[in-house]
Symmetry: D3
Subunit: 62 residues, 6 copies
């Protein structure tokens, strides 16, 4: 503890995951003054997330 | 916010996911009077869910 | 299972919670064809929720 | 309810999952004196978990 | 990690919480062979939990 | 989405919550390149958190 859980879309590049974990941890250490931080990255498929009643998978491609 | 997370078994048909997201969102908008609703569907394998001490995967087939 | 978790602001009126639970459950039964549904309502204080980097508690009153 | 969610690494052997569910349920029944217990096992890839700012996937192999 | 989250009703007696944490941890250490286990106890008010469409708060007293 | 949930001890000072939300959001925007970020801060009482089998509430005061 503290534990930070991030629910977002898939992150293709492991280097981005590395940065996400590193930087979220730095913020948490700074605020909580506790060293032991766990970060869980949850990757959600676009057909498993709805925003305002619509699946992300059904959004028009830009 | 609000965010609705649904933990259930796998949903094979994307049309059912579409309906799930649409209808859960309608209920939430009605109760909270807030437009921005996120729904997360989590699909759990039968070997990762236990009910009353038994894995769903070990239940006798009907 | 399935379990539906709703993270939103405080709901003052228990009658609204009653409706929220009843209607979310109806939607889930319809989609999953499973009777046993659990709903958890989580009420979050405005100083514990941030949207786009700002606490809800800090939003200008309308 | 109660619902127990376990976030950990992948469990290869279904027999271990069986034991995990059975024993966690026994503990919960004993403490809560409620029979209906749901256990959700979440398996997290080593590149999706950070401890103290470092991905589990990046830890030196022992 | 692993992290065990328990969503249940209020536990009045801290001694029961002590036992819950101790025993859930023992089970997790045995299965995962990892020492560092975090347990989060979430206590839910009866008006914030619905089972099969009905609030726990509305159940007839036994 | 993305949604960041932080489970930690109580944060007394709202200014620290402000910073936590602001900085976690900045990190998430940078990594996901998505503007809409929700942060949920969950404050856990020391008698509801166990680390390595022991309640935080039972730790010897330093």
């Amino acid at each position: 503890m503290p534990t930070i859980t991030v629910d977002g879309p898939k992150i293709q590049d492991i280097e981005l995951k590395r940065q996400l974990v590193k930087k979220l941890t730095e913020v948490a250490v700074e605020v909580y003054r506790i060293e032991h931080i766990v970060v869980l990255i949850r990757e959600n498929a676009p057909e498993n997330v709805g925003v305002n009643g619509q699946l992300i998978a059904d959004r028009p491609k830009k």
